[in-house]
């Protein structure tokens, strides 16, 4: 599914990541955890095409996608969400998700301006699909709300719905529980499990240990830019290196 191989990232003189490799299996929820400054977000930005790594490769469905920009990755079935949620604030909730269907539609400037019959029918399809994903995320009642007015928790659900609308094969979630209260976190964990049930592979970077241990099938632990451990939640909880890193050795 997704393979990260020998990723090294050097910023100026600082090595943020050093030879990190792992494989994400299809259909799993994989968690990437680690203390602050471990390099989680850097790794995430490299996989998502925001940064270009100093060396190493990212392989998606056996294609080398190293250095691909995010818009190309979207067409290859990989999308991400953001820690501080990046919504299209002036657009409605429904319109946000409709943008999520960008890769699933193709009308260009000319056929849109002339409102050709196929543009019309495509538009209808986009709208219906988008409503379906709003329903999936449980926010269909907010469809006409301007997204800047949403509470943070709902914004998180919207961002997830928007990402799902592109029907990705893999979704990367950057600290999805950040800023959520415990009830919202629980809702989110249910949503993530339902995403997996759709057959979508999930990779998440997260601080909330309870959430990670509850929903992840596999966990990768980073510390000081290197991979410290990898395994099931139980294995990770019992790993002495991980315990030492977290409690400060």
């Amino acid at each position: 599914m997704l393979e990260v191989s020998g990723i090294t990232q050097i910023f100026g003189g600082v090595t943020a990541l050093k030879d990190v490799s792992f494989v994400v299996r299809k259909g799993d929820i994989t968690g990437v955890i680690g203390p602050n400054g471990a390099g989680k977000t850097t790794l995430f930005n490299i996989i998502a095409g925001i940064y270009t790594q100093t060396s190493g490769r990212v392989i998606l469905n056996s294609n080398d996608v190293s250095g691909f920009p995010p818009e190309r990755l979207a067409y290859l079935g990989m999308v991400r969400t953001f820690q501080n949620i990046e919504l299209f604030g002036q657009m409605t909730v429904l319109e946000n998700v409709m943008v999520g269907l960008h890769t699933k539609s193709r009308c260009g400037m000319i056929s849109s301006a002339l409102k050709m019959p196929w543009a019309r029918s495509e538009e209808k399809k986009i709208r219906n699909e988008a409503m379906k994903w709003l329903d999936f995320a449980g926010i269909i009642d907010l469809a006409d709300t301007v997204s800047a007015n949403l509470p943070f928790g709902k914004g998180r659900l919207l961002e997830t719905a928007r990402a799902l609308a592109s029907e990705p094969s893999i979704i990367l979630m950057d600290e999805p529980a950040a800023g959520l209260n415990s009830q919202e976190t629980w809702q989110l964990s249910q949503l993530i499990k339902r995403i997996r049930d759709l057959g979508v592979t999930v990779v998440l970077v997260e601080h909330d240990m309870e959430l990670v241990m509850d929903i992840c099938d596999r966990i990768i632990v980073l510390n000081l830019g290197e991979k410290l451990a990898e395994g099931t939640p139980r294995e990770i909880q019992e790993n002495p290196y991980v315990i030492a890193a977290y409690l400060g050795g």
Binding site: A48, I50, P69, P70, E71, L73, A74, Y75, V79, R80, F82, E86, L87, F88, G89, Q90, M91, E95, N96, M98, V99, G100, H102, T103, S105, C107, G108, M109, S112, A113, L114, K115, A119, E122, E123, I126, R162, A163, S166
Partner: protein, 317 residues
């Protein structure tokens, strides 16, 4: 949906019957200018209000359309319609090519970049004297015509130009409410998220820049063929700023707003003529107050004002 169609038909109706009240009046000439300004404001609004990319060089594209049309018809005796189409294509392709490096810039730097572009074009009009007549202007441009109908009076030109305006408004509305329009607005709000959703930000910005330039070029050609005389000052930096003012005063991201902005800024100087020497002061004051009290532009500010005056007890949110 039906409300949108109704709004458009109402707008078209107003446009069609307005000349009845002004026939033979010098205001017809002002209304012709208003049409050209509306097209230009819409063009800039597509770029600024929707995609969030500023341009201080749009008067340049307007001028290119005017000069290409003018020179091809007057010096090389082209058919005006051909000249106009050729100008639009040439300006579109040029804007597309120039757009790639220029639109890499963001914010203030983009403003500077496009400012430079506009100034270069302006200097070109002034310096290529043997081609454009330079600072003393260029005259003898042919009127547009269809068969035996020659557009040589304000009345005829009004209908010619406002037909183009109605088409521009319709196509722009369609575009704004489409997949492409959404991608543009998405780009405006969060470029990185738009890219993650598969929007090719770089290409889309360049495309809308080129489309915007094409509309300006067509407006420029229409201007040249109706005025039959053009000179560089009409296409300078001041006019780029005036266009920007129309878009902001009218309402960013609203097609009808651009019309309102263009209408106000075209009519205001005519109305203020009564005020003699104080006109520029009052003009500035009005613009200042509008920006302060109607930050969303006329298109959002006026209905709100209306609600405040009439429906205090109505209690709407």
């Amino acid at each position: 949906m039906n409300r949108e169609i109704f709004k458009y038909l109402f707008f078209a109706l107003v446009v069609l019957i307005t000349p009845v009240f002004f026939q033979g009046n010098y205001l017809m000439n002002v209304l012709v200018f208003m049409g050209i300004n509306t097209m230009l404001a819409i063009a800039l609004n597509l770029l600024l209000g929707y995609a969030g990319q500023i341009s201080l060089g749009h008067a340049g594209f307007f001028g290119l359309g005017a000069y290409i049309s003018g020179v091809l018809t007057a010096t090389y005796s082209w058919n005006p319609w051909f000249a106009m189409s050729f100008a639009a294509a040439l300006v579109g392709i040029s804007a597309f090519l120039v757009g790639f490096p220029v639109l890499k810039l963001k914010g203030h730097y983009l403003a500077m970049g496009t400012l430079g572009l506009g100034i270069i074009i302006y200097i070109m009009f002034n310096e290529t004297v043997e081609l454009t007549g330079g600072p003393s202007g260029f005259s003898g441009i042919a009127n547009l015509s269809i068969g035996t109908l020659i557009f040589d009076s304000d009345f005829k030109n009004y209908y010619l130009i406002w037909t183009f305006v109605l088409v521009t408004v319709l196509l722009s509305l369609n575009l704004a409410n489409s997949r492409v329009g959404r991608a543009l607005r998405a780009l405006h709000d969060s470029e990185v998220a738009a890219r993650v959703m598969g929007v090719n930000a770089r290409l889309l910005k360049v495309q809308i820049f080129a489309l915007s330039a094409v509309i300006c070029s067509v407006a420029g050609s229409l201007y040249a063929h109706t005025m039959t005389f053009i000179a560089p000052p009409s296409f300078g930096f001041n006019f780029s700023v005036e266009l920007l003012t129309m878009v902001v005063i009218g309402g960013l991201g609203s097609i009808y707003g651009s019309f309102l902005g263009a209408a106000l800024l075209t009519l205001l100087p005519e109305i203020l003529r009564e005020a003699k020497d104080y006109d520029i002061v009052i003009y500035g004051l009005i613009l200042m107050l509008m920006v302060m009290f109607m930050p969303g532009g006329l298109v959002r500010g006026v209905p709100e004002l209306f609600r405040k005056i009439t429906g205090k007890g109505g209690g709407n949110a």
